[in-house]
Symmetry: C2
Subunit: 270 residues, 2 copies
C-alpha cells in the first residue's frame, strides 16, 4: 500500500503539550510543514481565542478538530459544551471532539451513563448544527470506560449517531479501536459522512499506563496501513492527526525531534 500524502498530516497538540504552549505548537507546525493542527481548549484559553485564531490563520493551518467537549457527567456540562461549540466555530474546526465521560461519581450504573450521553448530545446538537460545528463522538478504549468515556466501540458510537441524525459523527482513533474484531465492518458502515477525524499513534507492548503510554507510529503493534486502507475505502479523505500521550517517552523529548519523527513515521509507518 502507498505511503500517505504528507499534506494530510495534522498535529494534535497533546503530542507535545509538556514541552510547548499553543503558540509554540503553531509555529512548530509551520516550521516543519505540517498543515493541520488540533488544539486543546485549555491551551486556546491560555493563548486567547482571538490570538489563537489569528495565528492559526496566518500560518494557513487546517483545524482538524477542537479537543474537547463532552464529559456529560460534569456539573456545568451544558454551558461548557456550548462554549466549546462557539470556540470550535470561531476556529473553524472541522469537528468538536466529544470525550463523553464515564460513570458518575460513586455510580456503577453503566447503562444509565450511556443513556445520559445520548440525551446530552441530543440537547447540544441543535446548537452545534446552527454553528455548523460537527460533533465527533470518540469511542475510547474499554480500559477507560469507568473514568473517561462509556462509549467504547465504533458500533456503539454509530448507533448513537444514527439515532440522532445529521451533524454528528465519529473520531476514529486507532489507539482506541485497533483491537475491535468489528472494526473494518463498522468503518465501512460509518462511511465518509460519519468519519469526522482519524487519529493515529501506536499500541505499546507492554502498556505501562492506561492513559499516557501511547507509542509513536511504527513502534507498536497496530497495523496502521491496514486501518488506513479501511478508512480510505470508506471514502475518508481528511487529515491523519497524530495524538500521542507519552509520559515516559515523547513528552520528555525535544519537541522538534518529536515533530520530525511524526512526519517520518507518518510517511513510513502509517
Amino acid at each position: 500500500m502507498a505511503s500517505p500524502d504528507p499534506q494530510r498530516l495534522s498535529l494534535n497538540t497533546a503530542t507535545v503539550r509538556k514541552q510547548w504552549n499553543l503558540a509554540q505548537a503553531i509555529e512548530g507546525c509551520a516550521r516543519h510543514g505540517i498543515r493541520g493542527i488540533s488544539p486543546w481548549r485549555d491551551q486556546v484559553k491560555e493563548l486567547g481565542l482571538n490570538q489563537a485564531k489569528k495565528m492559526i490563520q496566518n500560518q494557513g493551518l487546517a483545524v482538524t478538530g477542537l479537543c474537547r467537549g463532552g464529559f456529560f457527567t460534569a456539573q456545568h456540562w451544558l454551558d461548557d459544551n456550548r462554549r466549546a461549540i462557539e470556540e470550535a466555530h470561531e476556529l473553524q474546526a472541522q469537528c468538536l471532539v466529544l470525550v463523553v465521560g464515564g460513570l458518575s461519581e460513586g455510580s456503577k450504573d453503566l447503562p444509565a451513563a450511556r443513556e445520559r450521553v445520548t440525551d446530552s448530545i441530543s440537547r447540544l446538537l441543535p446548537e452545534a448544527r446552527k454553528a455548523r460545528v460537527p460533533l465527533a463522538i470518540e469511542p475510547l478504549h474499554p480500559m477507560q470506560a469507568a473514568d473517561r468515556a462509556c462509549v467504547n466501540t465504533l458500533e456503539q458510537a454509530l448507533d448513537i449517531c444514527e439515532s440522532l441524525g445529521d451533524g454528528i459523527g465519529v473520531a476514529v482513533d486507532v489507539y482506541h479501536v485497533w483491537w475491535d474484531p468489528k472494526l473494518e465492518a463498522q468503518i465501512r458502515r460509518a462511511g465518509a459522512g460519519r468519519i469526522l477525524a482519524y487519529h493515529i499513534s501506536d499500541w505499546r507492548v507492554p502498556t505501562r499506563d492506561t492513559l499516557n503510554d501511547r507509542a509513536m507510529m511504527g513502534d507498536g503493534v497496530i497495523d496502521l496501513r491496514l486501518i488506513r486502507s479501511w478508512v480510505e475505502a470508506a471514502g475518508y479523505a481528511g487529515f491523519h492527526e497524530v495524538e500521542i500521550f507519552s509520559e515516559l517517552d515523547w513528552w520528555k523529548r525535544d519537541p522538534d525531534e518529536v515533530l520530525r519523527t511524526c512526519k517520518e513515521r507518518h510517511l513510513r509507518s502509517s
Copy 2:
C-alpha cells in the same frame, strides 16, 4: 436482587497463588467451606496430577475449570493443549479454560491471529469431545489483545463457538467484559448451553497495571449483581469463581483473610 447461594462460590487459585501452593489452596477451601476450586496447570504439575486429583476428591470439591489451555501461537501448542485436555479429564474439570494468545512475535496481523484461533480449536475439539472436556473460550479485555488473547468480546467468542458446533462455549469473566455495551444481549445469546464458567472480581479505578491490578468484589465499579442477573436469566446455574490477580494488594495479604473476604463479598456484593 437476592444474595447468591454461598454454595456456588469457587476459588480460582490464582487469587492466592503468591501465598499458597495447590495443596494449601485445597485445604484452605475445605477449611472455609468453599465448594469449588479452579487450579492452574503449573500448580497441578508441581503437586502431581494424581495427588491433586486425590486431594480434591477427598475434600469433595467441584473443579469449576482448569486454567489453562490455548496460547495457540506457542511453539508446541498442540501437544500442550492435548495434555491440558487429559489433565482436565482426570480432574473431572467442568471445562478447560482457553486463553487463546495474542499476536505472533513480531506480527501485527490481528485478523490472521484470529483465524489461527478458530483453526487451532477446530483441530483440538474432536479430542476434547472424546474426553468429555468442554472447551471454554475466555474473551479477554481488549487491553490484553496484543499479548494474551485476540478474542476480546463475548460476541466474537460466540461467533467462533457457533462456527465449531458442540463441546465448546465461553468463560464469562466480568473483569474482561463488564464494559461491553452488548454484554446483556450476548449473555442471552450464549444461554446456559454456552456459558461454561462465570468468573468474578472487580474493576479498580484507577487501574495501575493492565494485568495484575484486579479488585475484590465490591471494591470497584462493576455492577456484579446486574451481570449475575443476566447470567442467571440466561439459565446459568453453575459456580461463581473468584479470580483476582492483585500484585499490590490481595497477593500480599494473609490468604485466610483473602478467603474470608471472598466469601463475605460473594454474599454481599456479587
